[in-house]
Structures are given as C-alpha cells and as structure tokens.
Amino acid sequence: MTATRAGAGIEAALDEALGMLDETARRSVELDENEQFPADLCSRLDAFGLPARYVPTEWGGTSSDHEELIRLWRTAARRDISAVTAHAKTYLGAAPVWIAGNPEQARVIADAVLSGAPVAWALSEPGHGADLLSGSVTATAEPDGYRVDGVKWPINNATRSSHVTLLARTGQEGSGRGQSLFLVDKSALQPGTWRSLPKVRTHGIRGIDISGIEFDGALLPADALVGPEGSGLETVLLALQLTRTMCTALSLGAGEHALRLAARFTAARVIQNRPLAERPFPASVLARSAALLTAAEATSLVAGRSIHSLTAEMSVTSAVAKALAPTLVDATLGELAELLGARSFLSDVYEHGAFQKVWRDHQVVAVFDGSTPVNRAALVQQFPRLVRGFATGTADAGGLAEAVSVGSPVRPVDRGALTMLSRQGCSVVQALPALVESIGSRPTPTGLVDQAVALGAMAEYLHGRMAEVAPAARPAMAAYELAAAYELCYAGAACLHVWAAGEREHAAEPLWQDGLWVRAALRALLARLAVFLRVPVPAAGPGDDRLDGALARLVVDAATTGAPITPFGAPAPRTLQQGEDSRER
C-alpha cells in the first residue's frame, strides 16, 4: 500500500475484517485437512463488501478499479488462497454477463451477487477441459426456450452457486459459432432435470466446492440466452481476458504467503551457529524469490490496470499475465520449499503447516481458467501482430501511461472495447525500446541502464525469432518457448515502466532505494529469458553482488515486522509464531 494512492488503507481494512492471523492460519489448514469449505473467511469477505466489487457501478456495484480488486484478493489470498479461489469465482461467473448480457440479465446477476450468492461459470467438461470448441453439452431450441443436456465438470461453485453461466452447443459441433451462453437460475429449473455432481477430491484447494452439474432435459426460458445465439464462445473468450488477468492476484497472495513463511524460517533457523538468512546462498534464494514475486506483481498490476486503459490489448495482456504469474510463483514455491526442508511438507510443525497447503493450493492456478499451455498457444497465434507492432514501436501512449501509474485512479472500463485479437499488439512491450532509451538519458541507479539495454536486446532478438514462426494450428514447441520468453519480456518491461513512473513518489522506501527491487527483478528475469532463448546470461553488472544481501535483509525484516514485502505490497498482520514451530513440544 502506498501512502498516496486513492483508497489507501483499504487493504489494511480488509486485513482487519479477516480477523486474527494466527486464528485464520490455524483454521484454514484444519479446514483443508478435513475438506471443509472455508465458510468463515468467505463470509468475512462478504461482510467486507467484496461481492459489490464484482458488480459494475452501472448495475449497483462498486466495481471501478481492477487494481484495487487485485490488491484485495491478494490480501485475502496471502492468508488462504482456497477461500479466495472459492469467493472470486463469482467474479468469473458474472463477467460474461456484463459483457454480453441484456439489462435484465445484468440486473438478475447483480442482485444475486450483491446478496452474496455464489455464481459459477460452467465451461469445462469431462475429457476435454481446455477445448471449448468441443463442448458436448447441448442446448436444443424448443418452442419456449432451450432444452439442456449434458455434464459440466469439474466446476468451481457448481453446487453452492445460485446461478450458473453455461456454455452449451446450439449449432454445429467444433464450430466457433456453434456455442451459446446461458444464464441459468438453478432455482427456476424443473426438479429432476438437473442435479449437482459430487464434490471432486483435489490435490489442493481441498475444502472448496469443485463439483459438477448434470442437465437432463432441463428447460431454460428463451431469455436465458446471453447475447445472440452462436456468440457464446466469443463472449467467453472476451470474459476470459478479464478473469485470466485477475487470477494472477491468487499467485501474488500465495507467493507472498510462502515468502513470508520461508523468510521467517531462515531468520529463526540457526545452522552452524549462524542464522540461515545471513548465509549468502539462502539469502540469494530469498532475494530471487522476492525478485520474481515482484516481477509477477508488476505484471499483474499493469495487466489489471490495462483492463481500463489498454482494453483492446487484453487478448495479449491476459494470456501473458495468466501464463507468467503462476509459473513464476510455482517456481518460487519450489525453491522456498527446499529452503524450508522438512517443514515444507510436515503438516503440523511449522506455523500450523501453512506451507504445504499453499504449495498444493497454488498449483491449481496454472490449471484453471486457461492453463499455461493454453495461454501460450493463444499468445503464439498473435505473434504476427506483435512482431509488426514491435517493429513499428506502436504504443498507445496515454493508455500505457495510465496502466503503469500504479496506485493512481483508473478510467472506467469500456467492455465494448474488448476484442478477440489485439490489433495494435502490446504497448507495454512495444514501448520498451523507447523506454530503454529514455532511461539511459537520465540519472539512474548503478547497473540499471545495462540491464535495461540487455532487456531491450533480448526483446529485439526475441521478436526476430517470433517472426520466423510459421502460423500453424498446432504450434511447435519452439513457439511455446518463445511465448514463455515473451511473457518474461513483458514482465521486464512492466517492471521498468512502473519503476520509471513511480520512482520519485516511492523514493523514500527501502525497496526502491538504488533501484533495488527493479534491478533484482530484471536480473532474475534476464536469467530466465536466457534459458528460453538459449543465449548466454548477461554478465553481472556493477553492484549486482550486493543485491542479494540487501534484498534478503529487507525481505526478512518485512516478514518479521509485517512491512510490505514487495514494492507495491501492503503491510501484513503479524503472527505470534514468528518463524517458530507451532507444534507443541
């Protein structure tokens, strides 16, 4: 939380509303163990007024700022990612209605959401989850509406929800225009024509309602159809541009949770008479984790703000953000688990066994709402425009400036501006060469210019490689690797943009001094980029050898005192455990 931002204090208010950290920490692990729904946390999120933020202001809600919603989800997710996965689903389920629904449908869903009812989004089917074209649930036209048959599974909130937005086939199988979207009010369905399918047992998020719904001749009124017949897939793909972007908040929360747990452990753990945190190697792990989390944060916040100001680019932005954030955080959790050693999998020893839960829970983020490979494939399809846009340096300067001014007010979202394929490419990346140049011509922390130039060079090389990718319905693995590299480029560009935009305002904060966070983030991103591009890692710059120690100290301090742990982070409640084992001796 930054002192100057509009609505400052809202994260702290949510933390307050969520209750004592030690109580929620213990309870969330217990519920997960018993596969019980995190009802308490969800009702605290309701009481805080979170559902109103899922509803646009024109329909009576308070949804006006996606950055703020990302911050709120992160604040709750860093306690229990399961609870937010359950609660946030309502935002996902409702999103297509704001895009394509008529006023009556919007009112119905707004009323439901504002009353605290969960909404589900029924896309996946058994056997071909990611393949939306091959849906086999059918909606057959009847004189008074549609008859629905088939199974949607596994679906978050399928059983608890009052309403379901349902993608079903009304036309030809496998055709882009063969599917339609329906708003299903479960209470209005004829009993016996549908049923909830049992809760699915999952590896993580064990307590939440992952289940299914089976339709057997269920009759929907004609006005259940959202948008014109045949437009369902398009509506879904546009809505996914919003939801995929927003899901990154879950990764930010999980990453912060894990980093705080691990940092507290390294401060308390003494190996060969010295705290682990003071050894160069563990410190480098903490620093890299913080750096990657920071890169995910910059990406997520810029992408979330782009919903408002670079709306027409969201086909690129959302694919990048949804592939990148969970990937970086999964990698970070893996490294932190090694640091924690046995405490990463012992489920009642360290801080209530929180780590093993967040580790399992977070693994679902890369799977749902479009998996990493699905998002990379979506990005590959847009390579030609991205290559053209990079070559010409096309950028929406005004929209970009707004997107990277983290913490400042955003313009209202124009949902009509969402497009299936971004025509102008991606301003964040396409403005990178100009940004690199401008950074080189002003006073800049030591080493940052070299890093910016290296990032610019990698971006240049990457686009050359992207230009060689032949369009294909089934892209080669090499194209996926370039997509992964593009994500990292975006993240690096986002870091540089938000640093340049926020540097003055944040000058007094320790993470910002000497460009600490941005240099650490760029160093970590360049190292990963080099792997995907199969090029040498740029040589260490002046002062690079001091980054780890400085950043690790701040991370440990933040984890211990509750200070923000990332440049755009919020203070966190303190735990009584403070890196100690919670198990009774």
Binding site: S124, G127, H128, G129, A130, D131, L133, S134, V200, R201, T202, H203, I271, Q272, R274, R279, P280, F281, P282, S284, D330, G334, A337, E338, A342, R343, S344, F345, L346, S347, D348, V349, G353, Q356, K357, W359, R360, Q363, V364, A366, V367, F368, S371, T372, P373, R376, A377, R474, P475, A476, M477, A478, Y480, V531, R534, P536, V537, D548, D581, R585
Partner: protein
Amino acid sequence: MSAEKLDALFGDLRDADNPVGHAAILAADERHEMLAEGERLLDAYGMNAEFVPAAYGGRLVRADRLAEVQRAVWRHDPCLGLGYGFSSLLGSVNIWSAGTHEQRTKAAEILLGGGRIAVVFHELDHGNDFAHAECAAVPSDDGWRLTGRKETVANLRRAEAMVLFARTSEVAGSRSHSQFFLTRAELPADRVLDLPRFPTSGLNGVQLGGLRFTDCPVPGTAMLGRPGQGIENALRAFQLSRAVLPASVLGSLDTALRLALECVHERRLYGGFAADLPYVRAVLARVFADLLAIDAFCGVGLRALHLAPEATLYAPAVKYLTSRILMEAFEDLRAVMGAQGYLREGSYAMFQKLLRDAAPAAFSHISLSACLVLILPQLPRLARKSWLADQAAARQLFDLDADLPPLDFDRLAVGMPSGDGLIGVLAETAERESAGSPVGRFAVRFRDEVLALRDQCAALAPSDLTIGASPEAYAVAGRYTVLLAAAAALAVWRGDDRQQEAALLGILDRLSGRLGGAPVLTPDERASAEQALFDIAVERFQDRRLLDLSARRVSG
C-alpha cells in the same frame, strides 16, 4: 529374487480389484496409512533380505541390484519405498560398515526375521547440520545415559531396533557424536517417550515418529564403532544411500510419465488427441530424456560404489542433480496433465500422489544444497590435478550389465577422492568423435565447459568451500554435477548398443541446456531427436515396458 519377481507379485496396477494396485494404494494414502497388503507382499518377497549382506544371510551383494529392486517398489508406491525399504536400509548400512560381528549378526537376525531398524538421526532444530545435533549421551558406570529429542523418524514406533545418533562430547567439531545400535526392548519404558506422529503432505502413509529420552540408560556395548565416530559412520553409509535413493525414486517418475502417456492418448483436444499436439510430444520427450539421464547417472554412481569407492563426491552429485531433474520433470508433466494431474480421483489420481511424494523423497535424507556443500571442498584440487589430466575410468564402470565385485562396506571412504574418472570421459569423447557429428559437438561443448569450470574452481575463495559459499560457488558445484551426468550418459551409450542415439542427443541437449548458453543442436536436430524420443516412449508404453534404461517388460 529380483525386480521381475517383485513386479509379478504386484501384478497389474490398473486392475481395480488388485489389493496392491493403484486404487488400493490411493485409498491407503488417503487414510495416511501404509498399504498393509503391500507390506505383506514385501514380507512374502523377503524384502529385508535385500538389505542384509550375503555374508550375514541376506542378498545384498550389489548396490545396483539393490536399487533395481527398490525402484520396482517406488514404481508402485513411494510410501512403501521409503517406509518399508529405505529406512531399514539406511539404518542397517551403518551397522554393516561400523558394527562388530555381533552387532551385524543381531541386525541381520532382526531384519531377516521381518523386523525394522529405524534411523534415529534427525532433530527438527538442526536438520542436515548433524554436527550440532543436541540429543546427548553422557558416560555412566556401565554405558551411557541419553537425554534429548529425535524427530521425524520414519517407522520409529514400529521399529524393533534403531541406529541412534547422539552427541557424546561437548567439544565442537566432527568427532563429538557417536552412533548406537539399540533394540527398543533394551530401553526402559519410563525413560523413553514416543512423540505423537508427525503428519505430512506427501508420503502420507509413512509414519514419522519421534522420541524423547530422559536420562535413559544405554548399554556400552550398543556403540557402533568408536566414540566420536558417529559422523564418519554416517557419511560412509550415506555414500550408499545417496546413490541408492535417487535410483529408487526414479520408479515414481517412470509411473508418472506412463500415466501422462496414457492420458494424452485418451484425452481429445482440438479435434485430435492431446498426443497429437507438438507441445505435448516435446514435453513428454524431454521428460523421457530426463528419466534416461537420471538412470544413466545413477547407474554409474552405483557401480562406482564398487569400482571407485574412494570417489566420495559422486554420491552427493548424483543425489543433487537427479533430485533436481526429477522435481523439474514432475513440474513439466504437471503442465501436460492439467486438471487430470490435480484430481484425487479418476483414472489419473495416482499422478497427484506421485507429485506430492516426489518432493519429500527428493529432499529428505539430505537437502540438495547440502549435497553441493559436500562437493565444493573437493573441486579445486580435482580441477587442478585430475580434470583433463586423468584418463577416463575403465569401461567396466559404464557397462551397466557387467559384473561387479561385491560391495565392500569397509572401502566406502570418507575424505578426499584421488581422481575423477568421469570427467576424463569428456575429453576422451571430444577427441574420439568427429567434430561435426552432434555427439562430437556435444563432447566439445562439455570439454570446453570443463576448462571454464577449472578456472572458476581455481578462483574459489576459501569461504566458498564451506556452507558460507557464494551463490556463484554453489552454481559451480551444480555445473560440475551436470558434467558428470553428461559423461555418464556418453559413456553408458558408448558401451550399450541397444540404446538409440536420438535418446542420447535428447539427454545431452537437456543437460547442456542446464549449463546455459548457445545450444549445440540446431532446432531441426532437436525436433527430430524429440520426435524419436516420443516415439520410443510411446512404443515402450504400448509394449508395457519400463521407460528406464532396462526397458524391462512389466505387467502393468
């Protein structure tokens, strides 16, 4: 007795009625219990005899055969792998290497009678930092009196005996701890308290226990070796366990890859099967290459215990790199499995269990960074004296089917190795292979890396040879393990004409990718190697053959 016989006892894993098949294994895992039927099966097989040297009535002669049988267990259920097998092995190795004839005889009796020997080393406050373990024994009139806690010890409550590691001197350093071989019956019940079980996420069925000793009398005859020899004993035993464990754990990756192959041939996506997607094929091909690389490196590491037992850094190198590769391979598979890899039910539920089990299997016993700390102090001298000077080790080290002299526990050394016959393979291969061939280009690449690494080792500061090493020094040790693995793969392939060259190229491509920099293969060469690897994997899967180097036929 053999891995084949064990496989036959387990039967078809996919048969829902099989009491030791996937369904039963998963059900036990859900209950956080060991699979009782599986334990009975291993009893009937006489698994404990695998851990007892032939001289004491068991079947332990060769480390590689031991690992092969353990791998068959891990392929079915990692909980059985660790909870039934590995802990008794780890405990007993200390006795075979440091015990008296009487102690060895007693240990053999316990194991051959179906008993368990727990490894009571670990203290939660100290982890891998054995030298600071607190649980302490002080001399008494007729032995020792023990006070302190031991925690997260597999099978502790169910073990008839234990090898206990305790401080026996207040002096700091590596000679302040000793080991004791005790039966539970010898300890007065009022001086030993069983701590509540430590539940885990991953290896759910394995029962981790703890003990609290309060001025507990320990007979003087229980000591293993001499006072102060505890750390040395442990390091000696770890030479074996650190090579056997990763070779065993590989069985779980074999099963996971098999599940993924099945899944992508069943799931329909975008008008075809998932297996038709180039992305899916490439990921599975790469995981297959990783699996083969691990097997080759483990195979050489295990043979080195017989042929070059003084080469003490191979075991931690094998443990480090293969664990790292295994964890990453599971991550890659997870991306391909998608939601199917996240469900605790359905046809592929076994995957999420294997995923969960992989982490504790990979970094229990010793952390990966601790492995590198063991390697670092050896590097400068080896780099200076041995690399590119010493010849490659004799072919016998790399012929995985060739005979071996029996394992000699007394020769499992601790301390400085005199040479490095694996690195020698790289220079030799670079000279032999034609420079234009892909294998020749790889060999040159790896030899150049040895040269670069030699300079980096020469530049290591004294502090870089300790736990306080810089991240760059850790990276140097990590790169060294990659070169060892590359040497192992090159040499194993040279000695085994059943293995396809495409697979070798895939392995070397993955390994050289870990070193970073420009690729050796062209994109077309990589694509064709991966296509070939994928085809081999599918063929193996369809023929019900293992995916490891043995390609052994299995029942399911």
